[in-house]
Subunit: 379 residues, 2 copies
């Protein structure tokens, strides 16, 4: 009867109805039936992305979608800005470096977000910059960047704004069109409640113009191929058929719940998690001004090993959260509240955290965390 | 009660027990439990590949695994040979071109296979050739290339032999180690009876040495990253967790059946399909000397549209076969016998083909096809 609860920043819980969809008999992808699924999946993603831009699906993880965004828009020697405020920001830089793109790296203190002014300053100084790569929700630190503000700044230039929304999509608001986000890269296994295997990108007309000029070597991640295929409701390579079909069901669930309601739901879970942490005498890692609604990073007190907290919660109690990455290893824990989770899942996570911290010798009033969460959830 | 039978060259039928495995609750991939799955999947693939070489799994289609083989082994300007005897052979050339690799293209008449002598001649003439890219089972034509013979020729040189076994693996014999095949690229959705979404490559020590010197721009498909991660029973990027878990079950089924028995099984289905075609007065497309056991390409008589045959069989009767590609569009049909299929599935396919050909006005003795298949299956 041990629970298998994922409070991890991807993969997230797959609800039973989507498990069932994943187990459906497979169909061939070059058929009118699959075309219908592809059409519905694309339209559903446009709803979640709040965009009329083209959306291209590929069989890959989120990193594949990010790579497609880099190698399909730019050319070796091009100038770009990458924002590094955590592990996933660093990935943008690594991707640019892999393709010989000349990236100006904006180092942001972990736990804080880049400001629009910083980006504006750099764009004003160097008019040759073609793209700004940024992470919406940096799950290594629990920070969400103000994409609306960046969108305003970048839209006034010739550069395109490329956002990694792998973790944030469907959890944090992302108004692709209203905020003038040119490219969004995301994937199936976070807010969309499915296993990993489908990556996707939305691409504005401004970004599509760059695609035509890009000379980076590429094949599988060449977005021009996806654009051409999408025109015939097709994919250039065999898609992850099973996950695409389940994605149609997932997106129906999202639409039925209503995107705005879902965003409120995750915010409510996030606030409750923060209140619980404080009640347990634990500090939040991220700056409150840019704290994320999809993941809460919590400092672990000196003398307690954050890695042990994660291990005991998972191996003894069946509840998975994440530890710290890089320099934060052992020093923070990360509780995600994205995907198919309700308030009782969060209470279970807090309850299990209390149990584990007690075992590891942290001093606090047992029950203070769940009580604070309960109060926050029922004001 | 309409059947949904896939006699297509990928995706293939997913048996119910694997559908069920695909619908299991998702687990996190950075856990000892997933590591165990990854270890078992890797070992199972080594069994099917008949190799002790490293096997790296990635979230992609088969083309992704092919691209990883190109961009991870070679550098721009390198010399290579690509063998083009069909659509998938052309993909090797396109991949080389995408990365600025100087490919000598060996054009093989469609329906025939390249000879080892041809490759030997080219390798003798140009000692700078670093890799030979070939397709084991070319599903656009129904031809299987003699990889053992090519292996002997290439092993005597400094070049590596890279085989696209996306369609052949588990269906046609591929003795990776005995035949000195350096790299095999394949995927989950053909012989391994799963949906598309997992690509993989096996890489010899000789090929691993090339990996270290390769300068092609790459990130997601950089096999060095996969090698490093595999050393820790990990993957560099989020794997297609659900399909990897189901792959463990698929590989158990393969091992339980026994690889040699399976290869015999598919050969038996292939021979029966060929006999049925002949009995219906239809010619086989591939040269008998190199005809494939995983797919039978059948010429459609003048006056009958092959595209219509495929459409009627699928849309009216629920049985999917494939049509011709490129210049062969409308002129051939392709019946795959790979993945989870038994002799009665083949009989159903032949029966449906007879029904459809009759409707389209082809003259033959109704029942001749199924009778010939039945005789072939029960000698």
């Amino acid at each position: 009867m041990k629970r298998n609860l994922l409070l991890t920043p991807g993969p997230t819980q797959v609800p039973p109805q989507l498990c069932a969809a994943l187990g459906r008999p497979i169909i061939h992808h070059r058929t009118p039936l699959f075309q219908q699924y592809l059409k519905e999946a694309t339209e559903g993603l446009q709803y979640v992305l709040q965009t009329k831009n083209d959306v291209y699906l590929m069989a890959s993880s989120g990193t594949g979608a990010m790579e497609a965004s880099v190698c399909s828009l730019l050319s070796p020697g091009d100038r770009a800005i990458t924002v590094e405020g955590g592990k996933f920001g660093e990935r943008w830089t690594e991707l640019c470096q892999a393709y010989g793109i000349n990236a100006e790296v904006v180092k942001v203190e972990w736990g804080k977000a880049v400001t629009a002014d910083t980006i504006k300053g750099l764009l004003d100084k160097d008019k040759s910059i073609k793209a700004v790569f940024v992470t919406q929700s940096e799950t290594s630190t629990g920070v969400t960047t103000d994409i609306a503000a960046l969108g305003k700044v970048v839209a006034a230039t010739n550069a395109v704004l490329v956002v990694d929304a792998v973790s944030g999509l469907g959890v944090e608001d992302l108004q692709t069109d209203n905020w003038a986000v040119d490219v969004v890269a995301s994937a199936s296994h976070k807010g969309l409640m499915l296993p990993p295997g489908v990556g996707f990108v939305s691409v504005s007309k401004k970004a599509q113009a760059l695609m035509e000029k890009s000379t980076c070597p590429k094949y599988y991640f060449d977005l021009r191929k996806y654009k051409k295929a999408a025109g015939k409701t097709d994919t250039p390579f065999t898609p992850a058929i099973g996950i695409v079909i389940a994605l149609v069901e997932s997106l129906k669930m999202v639409k039925e719940a209503g995107l705005e309601n879902l965003l409120q739901h995750y915010k409510r879970l996030a606030v409750a998690t923060r209140e619980a942490a404080k009640a347990l005498g634990l500090a939040l890692y991220a700056d409150p001004a840019c704290i994320s609604n999809n993941l809460t990073a919590i400092r672990i007190p000196d003398g307690v090993d954050g890695g042990k907290v994660v291990k005991i919660m998972r191996d003894t109690h069946g509840i998975s959260i994440a530890g710290g990455q890089g320099d934060l290893k052992g020093k923070i824990i990360r509780i995600a509240h994205m995907g198919c989770l309700d308030e009782y899942d969060i209470l279970a996570g807090i309850s299990c955290l209390e149990k584990t911290l007690k075992e590891l010798g942290h001093k606090f009033t047992l029950g203070a965390g769940v009580a604070a969460a309960q109060k926050s959830l029922n004001p």
